[in-house]
């Protein structure tokens, strides 16, 4: 079975404008789950980039998501079989919604695609990737 691995990240809930202008390190992957929610992997070293602007921001060490990279072609086939909404054309792109009936986040690059699901669904997701 394909192995999804837990992703070490920081999950942040903060004011949207603070997230808009957050100085997230270039090397990290920052995914905007919602207007007021940001997922950053690897975990933020310096939380003050958020807390300095929003003292009530919530930042947690987040290990509750699991992910897997697939080559673009393989990802496209899996998505064609299991995704009932249209994947954005641009690259890189972030998209989220039901894939194989599991809430899924996608980070789409030219050559590869990262699939992220809540870790409690990683087992079922892997099974569905195999089908």
């Amino acid at each position: 079975m394909p192995a999804l691995k837990r992703i070490a990240a920081t999950r942040i809930v903060a004011q949207p404008q603070v997230l808009d202008s957050a100085d997230v390190p270039q090397s990290s992957l920052a995914l905007r789950f919602a207007a007021d929610e940001l997922f950053v992997t690897p975990p933020l070293q310096d939380e003050t980039i958020i807390t300095a602007h929003d003292p009530h921001a919530i930042l947690i060490r987040e290990g509750g998501f699991a992910g897997i990279w697939l080559p673009a072609e393989e990802a496209a086939l899996f998505l064609a079989r299991n995704c009932e909404w249209e994947i954005p054309n641009g690259r890189p792109a972030f998209a989220q919604g039901a894939v194989a009936s599991i809430p899924t986040k996608l980070w789409l690059e030219d050559e590869q695609v990262l699939f992220i699901v809540p870790a409690p669904y990683a087992h079922d997701f892997a099974e569905r990737m195999q089908d």
Binding site: R32, F33, A34, A35, E84, W85, P88, Q96, G97
Partner: protein, 77 residues
């Protein structure tokens, strides 16, 4: 796929990704506080036509989307 709900954060997604939430409204003509309470707790406008609704994007951003849907056609206005 089916009816599409336009999620402002995630884009249009099939209705099955969302949980339904009606936006309740007690008519002004009900003035007795107890009657207003009962109305808000149990009664529905249940219109055949446009209805204000909220949909929670369970499979995406996990936030509420509000919209107006015509219950005769399921079209989102």
């Amino acid at each position: 796929m089916s009816i599409q709900i336009p999620c402002p954060h995630c884009g249009p997604r099939p209705i099955e990704e969302f949980a339904f939430g009606e936006i309740l409204a007690v008519p002004d003509q009900i003035t007795d506080p107890d009657e207003r309470d009962i109305d808000r707790a149990f009664m529905h406008n249940n219109p055949e036509g446009p209805q204000r609704e909220a949909w929670f994007h369970t499979y995406g951003c996990r936030r509420w989307v509000t919209l107006t849907r015509d219950t005769r056609t399921d079209q989102i206005i």
